[in-house]
């Protein structure tokens, strides 16, 4: 229980840093469920009214009907310390609004792409998206009840997931399982950053 007592005590910290992790995936793969399993607040929804101009996209045809559309995204929050907050953002279910995903992943520490084994092919578009972006991501296979059970390596092969991308099985409803997914994302982000740093420094 959080009785907000500490929130009012004393002066606020002089600098509060916030980070975000993006939970991506196709329609109905369990993104909101995953966010809700660890969030300290009920997942909230915010609506972005996208216009061709406002989205910074020059091709108005990417936005259907009169150049505007509304995209909903939901998110949760984990206050880790007085001066550190982690937000989890779920991508909008409609994967065709890629420009919205671009806004969401900007500045993120990493992403998890959720996959539902009952509709494996729905994962191709989100996976493609991250393969073409400079953001560390992993694949989390959400094990729905009654869904076909695959070995991790079978899923990796079916979806042609590169060996450098971690893949883990999870249950989006369970806090410990979701924690493991998020820890995996951050560890992968750290490994990626170290590898890039070493390359940049010219060690190899």
């Amino acid at each position: 229980m959080d009785f907000a007592s500490s929130e009012r005590a004393g002066a606020p910290p002089s600098e509060i840093t916030s980070a975000k992790i993006v939970i991506a995936g196709g329609f109905g793969v369990g993104k909101t469920t995953l966010v809700g399993a660890v969030s300290e607040i009920e997942p909230l929804t915010t609506e972005a009214v996208m216009t061709a101009a406002g989205a910074g996209i020059d091709d108005a045809s990417k936005v259907p009907e009169k150049g505007t559309t509304t995209v909903a995204m939901d998110f949760g929050r984990i206050t880790m310390a007085e001066d550190l907050i982690l937000y989890l953002f779920g991508t909008p279910g409609q994967t065709r609004f890629w420009f919205m995903w671009d806004e969401l992943i900007r500045g993120a520490v990493g992403a998890a792409v959720l996959v539902d084994t009952r509709r494996l092919t729905d994962a191709f578009a989100p996976l493609d998206y991250f393969e073409n972006r400079h953001l560390p991501y992993l694949v989390a296979v959400n094990c729905f009840d009654g869904a076909p059970r695959y070995e991790a390596e079978e899923v990796r092969e079916a979806l042609a997931i590169p060996a450098r991308v971690p893949l883990i099985m999870c249950d989006a409803r369970h806090r410990e399982s979701v924690k493991a997914v998020l820890i995996g994302v951050v560890e992968h982000a750290m490994n990626t950053l170290v590898a890039e740093h070493e390359q940049g420094v010219g060690v190899g």
């Binding site: 929130e7 606020p12 509060i16 916030s18 975000k20 909230l44 310390a81 550190l84 907050i85 951050v186």
Partner: protein, 120 residues
């Protein structure tokens, strides 16, 4: 300042509340958090209904731009313009999103997030 009355009603609300401006002063990240002092909340009483609501939300605890948009039910773009205005007017303090440059800074943040997750 009072809210301008618009005979066309709620349909034009997102336009009206930002006084017709569509570009935020600063491109505030959705996860960046904002805080209001109690003095700022008092001052925001005169800044219009939506700005006042935003200030009230940011007094007891830091709220991200995304939370402010969701809690006030304003579209994200509208909330971003209002919040940027309030930062410019000294009604809100804008805190920083995760560093995007610098190996040490980024590793430090990742390390802190990692230990925060492990402690959950």
């Amino acid at each position: 300042m009072t809210q301008p009355h618009d005979p066309r009603g709620n349909l034009v609300r997102p336009y009206a509340v930002t006084r017709g401006r569509t570009e935020p002063i600063r491109d505030i990240p959705i996860e960046a958090v904002l805080v209001a002092s109690s003095a700022a909340v008092q001052e925001a009483r005169f800044a219009g209904h939506d700005k006042y609501r935003i200030a009230v939300l940011c007094e007891p605890k830091a709220q991200s731009l995304a939370e402010l948009a969701a809690l006030t039910r304003l579209p994200l773009g509208v909330a971003r313009v209002l919040v940027a205005d309030m930062v410019a007017d000294g009604l809100l303090t804008l805190h920083s999103a995760a560093p995007r440059k610098g190996f040490t800074e980024r590793m430090d943040l990742l390390g802190r997030v990692l230990s925060g997750l492990r402690k959950l």
